[in-house]
């Protein structure tokens, strides 16, 4: 009899620990309320890092990258090139650069570095995937000079400027002819482009709660302007708690707005099988711990990579 009772107790203990470790018992409250604390500064005071809180509990990290002086630049590796994996490309590119952070970027069809990215993707002018994904409205252009632009594909008002003639043109990538022209522009200007879910655009949420997706760790790239008009990019990462895309986007929008930031756009960065985030040794969270994604050990398998560097 004692054995039966012991076994049942063991079952109950295992069940409780399993539930707790999988965040079932302490499920995400429906009204998430984010706050942030940017307590560390690095890279010429232009990058700040710190903690992300939900209802007072620490749930992840926030990294703010100030682009006012344009010393902080972005670089995107959309896919392997000439047989060289994304990680190897990054390794050869990084020499002599002060890398601020690296993160997984767009979605891919699988976990291996041979798996193609989903949605329209161009890497330094080279076509990677020409198939426009109609379920994702965000088109991100990482310029050769290190700037990042986000456009809403549905609006069809992407502005491109030919560097040679300085001629400006408005492109609707949904139209085949204009898309072909855009791709030629990317080839000429060595632009890098990828597609992902557009969550916030011009201070407005771009989807409803019903299309919020599963609850998961979320990582957003948010482009903002502060009160002085400086462009500040944010990486907001909920490593310790799972959210639907809607809750994550909505709470991030409220948090940034209440801190005086004007949100230009926010897009989702992949956290699935390759949930990678790594920062330089100048950046830590508020407890002096390193900022890491859940799958950093798999970074050699990365199918794509968003990097920020200081120059």
């Amino acid at each position: 009899m004692k054995k039966v009772v012991n076994l049942l107790c063991l079952c109950a203990f295992i069940a409780l620990t399993s539930f707790k470790s999988h965040n079932i018992l302490n499920a995400v409250p429906s009204a998430a309320s984010f706050t942030m604390s940017l307590c560390k500064t690095g890279h010429g005071s232009e990058v700040q890092s710190g903690d992300l809180y939900n209802n007072g509990s620490k749930i992840g990290y926030v990294i703010a990258l100030n682009r006012s002086s344009q010393h902080v630049k972005a670089k995107y590796f959309a896919f392997k090139q000439n047989g060289t994996s994304v990680h190897d490309r990054y390794d050869s590119w990084r020499s002599g650069k002060s890398v601020v952070l690296i993160s997984s970027g767009a979605y891919a069809t699988g976990f291996n570095n041979t798996d193609l990215p989903v949605g329209l993707t161009i890497d330094y002018g080279n076509e990677v995937n020409r198939n426009l994904d109609n379920t994702m409205d965000g088109l991100i252009i990482v310029e050769d000079v290190g700037g990042v632009r986000v456009t809403n594909i549905k609006d069809g008002d992407l502005k491109i400027i030919y560097s040679g003639t300085k001629q400006e043109k408005t492109i609707n990538v949904n139209e085949s002819l204009q898309k072909a022209e855009f791709m030629r522009w990317c080839a000429d200007e060595k632009a890098t482009v990828f597609q992902t879910h557009l969550l916030i655009y011009k201070n407005q949420l771009k989807f409803t709660r019903s299309y919020g997706g599963n609850e998961s760790e979320r990582k957003l790239l948010v482009l903002t302007k502060d009160r002085s008009g400086n462009v500040v990019h944010f990486i907001i990462y909920s490593r310790g708690q799972q959210f639907s895309l809607y809750d994550m986007a909505n709470s991030s929008l409220q948090m940034l707005s209440s801190n005086g930031y004007d949100v230009i756009a926010a897009v989702n960065l992949d956290t699935g099988g390759l949930d990678i985030l790594s920062t330089s040794t100048e950046l830590y969270d508020c407890s002096n711990n390193s900022i890491q994604g859940t799958k950093n050990s798999d970074r050699r398998s990365m199918t794509n990579m968003l990097a920020y560097y200081y120059q």
Partner: protein
């Protein structure tokens, strides 16, 4: 300045210039007439989506339309696209589908022998054709009409991937997990078991414990029940 001296020069210039002007106008009119015919021709083009279209002919049409001050690319592409919309694929006829993909590839790679201005038209045509194949396949795979592991379909999908057209189709997660297991790649399985199938896994473990307890301790449980009944 003596006007009488330069007057003959003006006269000679006028005598030569005036006929040149008339000639130029006539040439332009001829070109415009030619272009008008070309526009009509272009609308009458029967685009062959399975065999090679002489691209030189398309370029001539384009040139004619440009002379007529028309948006040549738009006219030709709209004409092309209108006919493309009427194409219906027979997914059982893979050979025909292959020919169609080859034709699209030819248009996309036409950029290697035409100018960057001309390239946009061909690239857009090829892109529209490949998009039509990928959309059809995506819809058919998602609807379960086409088996994604059929070697012929797999060939088309791989060929599309070579052409930088990546199709995102719904897959059965469990089937995908088994395939990754077969390949010996456990990362996907681990990821799915700790995310998508997390709750199912926990329930499965608990249920297994329950079954295990009942099976191995059934005698003691029954004994316990009997003791309770006897006590009553």
């Amino acid at each position: 300045m003596n006007f009488a001296r330069i007057y003959p020069a003006f006269l000679i210039l006028f005598i030569f210039f005036f006929p040149c002007l008339i000639l130029a106008q006539k040439v332009t009119a001829k070109e415009i007439n030619l272009s008008r015919n070309l526009i009509q021709d272009s609308v009458r083009i029967k685009w062959d989506f399975y065999k090679n279209q002489p691209l030189q002919h398309v370029l001539e049409l384009r040139h004619g339309l440009e002379l007529a001050k028309m948006n040549a690319d738009e006219v030709l592409f709209n004409d092309f696209n209108a006919q493309l919309k009427t194409v219906v694929f027979d997914l059982n006829n893979i050979e025909e589908l292959k020919q169609y993909v080859i034709k699209a590839e030819m248009l996309i790679y036409a950029k290697y022998f035409c100018t960057s201005e001309q390239e946009i038209l061909f690239s857009a045509m090829g892109d529209a054709m490949l998009t039509k194949v990928s959309d059809t396949l995506q819809t058919s795979i998602n609807a379960g009409i086409v088996d994604v592991y059929n070697p012929d379909i797999e060939y088309i999908l791989k060929r599309l991937m070579d052409d930088k057209v990546n199709i995102k189709y719904k897959v059965n997660n469990f089937g995908k997990m088994l395939r990754y297991l077969w390949k010996g790649d456990f990362r996907y399985v681990y990821h799915k078991l700790t995310t998508t199938y997390k709750n199912t896994l926990i329930l499965f473990i608990l249920f297994s414990f329950l079954v295990f307890t009942i099976v191995f301790y059934r005698k003691k449980i029954l004994q316990l029940v009997r003791v309770k009944n006897n006590a009553k």
